[in-house]
C-alpha cells in the first residue's frame, strides 16, 4: 500500500506500507520537474515491487529512499501528456 500517511495503515495492520509523497499526490510530486516527478513516482512503484518480494511478519514500512534506483527504468519518450 502506497500512502502519504504510513502510520495509519501500519496501525490498522496493513503489512507492506510504502511511503508516498503527499495525500493529494501520493505517487509523484508536481512541484518537481517532469523528469524528477517521474523519477519520484518510479522510486515509489519500485519500492512497492520490492515490498511485494520481501517476506514480512508484521506491518512494515518500506522507504523509497532506500530502494536502489535505475534511471533506465524511465523511458526517454512518453506518448501521452499525462506523465
Amino acid at each position: 500500500m502506497m500512502t502519504a500517511i504510513p502510520v495509519i495503515p501500519l496501525t490498522v495492520g496493513a503489512n507492506r506500507v510504502i511511503r508516498g509523497v503527499r495525500v493529494p499526490h501520493v505517487v509523484g510530486d508536481p512541484s518537481l520537474s517532469v523528469e524528477k516527478d517521474r523519477e519520484t513516482a518510479m522510486r515509489i512503484v519500485l519500492t512497492a515491487l520490492r515490498a511485494l518480494q520481501t517476506p514480512v511478519d508484521e506491518p512494515t514500512l518500506f522507504e523509497p529512499a532506500e530502494t536502489p534506483f535505475d534511471p533506465s527504468l524511465i523511458l526517454a519518450k512518453e506518448a501521452t501528456r499525462a506523465a
Partner: protein, 350 residues
Amino acid sequence: MGTTIRVVHYINQFFAGIGGEEHAYHPLEVRDGPIGPGRALQQALGDQGTVVGTIVAGDNYFVEEQEEALPKTREAFDQLKPDLVVAGPAFEAGRYGLACALVCKLAGEQDIAAVTGMEPENVGVLTYRGDIFAVPTGISTSELASAMAKMAALGLKLSRGDVLGAALEEGYIPRGFRHPVIKEQLGYERAVEMLIARATDKPFISEVQVKSYESIAPAPPVESMSDAKIALVTSGGLVPRGNPDRLVSGHATDCFKYSIDGLDALSVDDWESVHGGFNTTFINTVNPNYVLPLPRGRELEKQGVFKKLYPNFFATTGNGTAVTDARRMGAEIAEELVEAGVNGVLLVAT
C-alpha cells in the same frame, strides 16, 4: 406481571441432535417448542416468554444456500409470529455464527426483536456487527447456560422496546454506533478524574473506545517478479470523468472496476477523482496518475520487470469507509484477482 411473549429459537443441526458435519446440509425445518439448548433458553425466560418453536438448519445449508434458507426462515417467522427471536449461541463456530447473525438480521428487517450470542471475533458478528445484537461468549459450550441467561435478559428488553444503553453497560458486543448522551458531570471534570485515576493506578473506563484491529497474516512474497501479474487498486476515488457509476465522495460501500487495457497513462480529460477527503486539484487538473501509477506500471511491464499489468483497476473512496465495508470490498477485489492469477497488488491510499 407482564404478558408472556412468543419466542422462536434458531439452532444448527449439531445442537438439534441431528448430527455433525455429515449433516451440515440438513435443510431448514421447524419444530414445536424448545429442543436442545432451547430448554436452557426456556428456563432463562421463566414465565416472561415461551419458546413456541425452534428453527433448525444445517450450517452449510444455511450459509451456502441463503437464497433458500432466508425465505424459509421468513416463512417460519410468519407461521410462528415471534415477539423475540433468539439464535444460538454459536460460540466460535463460524458458519453457525454467520447463520445466527443472518437469522437475527432478517428478524430485525421484519421488526422482530432478535438476539444472538457468540465469541466476539466470530465472523458472524464481525460481518454483521451493526445489524445484530450479540452477547459476547467464550469458545466453550460449557458456558451455554450463562450465555443463554444473558441472551434471554437482553432479548426480553429488546422485545419490550426498551431503550438500550451503551453496549458495554448492557452487555452486548459493540455495534459500531455512537449516540449522544447527557452526563451529569461536565467533560473536563470527567477527563480530570480519569487522568487522576490513571496517574494513581486506579481503574477507569475511557469514553472513547479505541477499536482494536485484527492482525492480518501477511501474504507470502512474490517469488518471481518477472513472471508476476500485477494489479492496480486505489482508494483515491478515481473514476471515468462524469462518474458514470456514481461513486460517492465518502463512506463508500462500493468499489468499481475500470479497464486500463491498452492505456499507457490516465488523462485528465478522461478521469477524475470524486474523493471528498482530500484536495483533488492535482488529480483533476494535472495528473490522475498520482492516485494510480499506470505510466510507471506500463514502463516496468514493457521492460519486463514484471510480466503483466492486470487489464482492470479497482477504485473506491477511502474516506470514512466503515471497516466492515472495506473488509467486504477487499474480499471482493481479492476474489477476482486471485481467480485471474494476479500475484501482487499496488494499492494507492490517499
